[in-house]
Symmetry: D2
Subunit: 203 residues, 4 copies
């Protein structure tokens, strides 16, 4: 029932996070009901995204370059008003957005694009940890703190341990987000690790 | 934090069914990591969708026209191999797809694009019910059965009643999908209407 | 940490439908906070349940006998005001309760206490199907209709087929609850069997 | 349809945590199918619960008294092997059970049976906070730490603050469970307070 055109377009929609074949079809039906002018504009925006959004060459977050030759986001560019003495390592852009929304953290970031995958030597995260090492090796680490803000899961822990080892020779202060009770967690169902850390980190 | 470009692109993604602002942002971040060639191709496909997919001028389902001047889908075009003696009225393309997948129905369709909205005189569904009337008035109704396959909800019932009234002067046989127990429904929790219809329709 | 007393009491609570060890413990803690008089009364009610509630010897539904020697519920006892011309076969008491609540069915019942289990020759349902046969063999079947109201699942279908075969020699009219769309079912996600039956049973 | 007996028994089952009328009915039907000997034993266990389980007069946890005159649980009785230098204040027995299962905490407890309710002057929690004050006033507080392990919710926070104020004159070290990321929490969806505390408590 699907034409080549339909199938090709559907394949792209299925690349979006959380989108399966059924929802991809539904997106195309919705697109069919957009006015033609909207489809043209929408398609043009997508095709030109590379001129308007880029990953910062330093911290790998998405930003809008003022000019195509700008490779650094406003947080990393010379003259940045962000606090240069702390750098938070994150898994993904949406984590960064949530932390920016809370607006109490004023330091720098480094987005890994994932956690380490033990089975995959060439993961994006591995490359970006190398880049983090290079980024830090260039600068004076005396007054710097690296905050590992990776997910509180096995893979997140594993990635944090790996980063610590990689950065060890640089002699930088490295901390991790505090573990303990999150808002709304029920003590009756909390896992052992969370309970233990909540007690160890009592204050 | 969002550029105009980001905001404009996000607005389009938010028009897709079930997509809120958070997921729209996530789609754009995902797009940023597509290869540039993929973004260009994807954008081109979207802009050219009007040349490849269209709503049939007769039954309003999405189809792939063999040529731009073709206004009728293969089900409705002259020479169609579909059974011309039954016509199923549906709410949406995805319902049609599910019925085609089951592949026991061989008749025609009419897609309303929604149910009637009592508060909105100019809904898409209302226009397409008018079009259904015109479509049926043209042809010999002697051997025709209209199957109302609208959702088993209040709005679906209301729309079915409305269609019946509109088509009454045409003197066509009109049926509705049988109500009763769907697979997996628990008798202990079934609503009164379903129970009553399951008993009335016993056989 | 658990005493023998706690463990023994907990074992009983775990026999209730849907209750696991964690909730059974929570029930005992709640009981500990009941006033002593309430615990004594509650315990006495449970111990004396056999004097107050019984399964009807005819239809196997739970009822309150007016006197201990009464073996038949008010639906089955001589002088019953229920419609004797239809008998609905059900899986469980809670299905019966839901149908009584809807209050349009006025006939008799037969509660199987489960569906047939292909692996278990001696299931409760099997015994009660034998009892149904005996119950029906005694009476004039001329004006009788058996309504099979078993769950719309594989096991429910299997049990319905089995009952039909067992009752065949008695030459009684046997019907099943109508299959089709239940209130709220989405046509887009309906399974093939439900769609087929909804179309076959259209009217 | 319900007899007085049924209604009275049902009322007791509805007092259990999380049990509504429908499940209470289902429990009674299940009881009807217990062997009579089991119902008698079950009822006897419930009626005699007061001889076998009690709330400790000191810490209010449920325990099995070796003899009816024993008012203190093994944790609180003279000769206890528990670490007397820490005392954890909890909302409920099931929280205590979860912490005991993790088996790294060796101190004492104090179970409030709820959190404070601003609208209810006479709540159980309020009485047990008074009792906590009395319990602590009797003993030497020099080497004692009170660990507030109340739920990470508004009411839990409110109760913690209240306890701190009540105990202030006793000059005891009071700590709270550490707040931060619990296992499995997604940084993208974490609330602002959790994020802030996770950063403040980094280490």
């Amino acid at each position: 029932m699907e034409s080549n055109f339909f199938a090709e377009l559907k394949k792209y929609f299925e690349k979006f996070p959380g989108i399966g074949p059924r929802q991809a079809s539904r997106f195309i039906w919705a697109l069919s009901d957009f006015p033609q002018a909207d489809r043209e504009n929408f398609g043009k925006l997508i095709a030109s995204l590379g001129n308007h959004l880029a990953r910062c060459a330093e911290c790998y977050r998405i930003f809008s370059p003022a000019a195509p030759e700008k490779k650094l986001c406003s947080f990393c560019a010379p003259g940045s008003r962000r606090d240069q003495s702390s750098l938070m390592v994150l898994e993904k852009d949406s984590d960064l957005l949530n932390i920016e929304k809370a607006s109490f953290y004023r330091g720098l970031y480094h987005v890994l694009g994932g956690t380490l995958d033990a089975l995959n030597e060439d993961s994006l995260a591995r490359e970006r940890i190398k880049a983090l090492h290079a980024r830090l090796a260039k600068r004076n680490s005396a007054s710097l703190e690296i905050i590992l803000a990776l997910p509180p899961t096995k893979l997140g822990e594993f990635t944090s341990e790996y980063i610590k080892k990689v950065l060890e020779p640089l002699n930088i202060k490295i901390t991790r987000l505090g573990r303990g009770l999150s808002t709304g967690v029920d003590l009756e169902y909390a896992d052992e690790l969370t309970l233990k850390q909540a007690i160890d980190n009592r204050k």
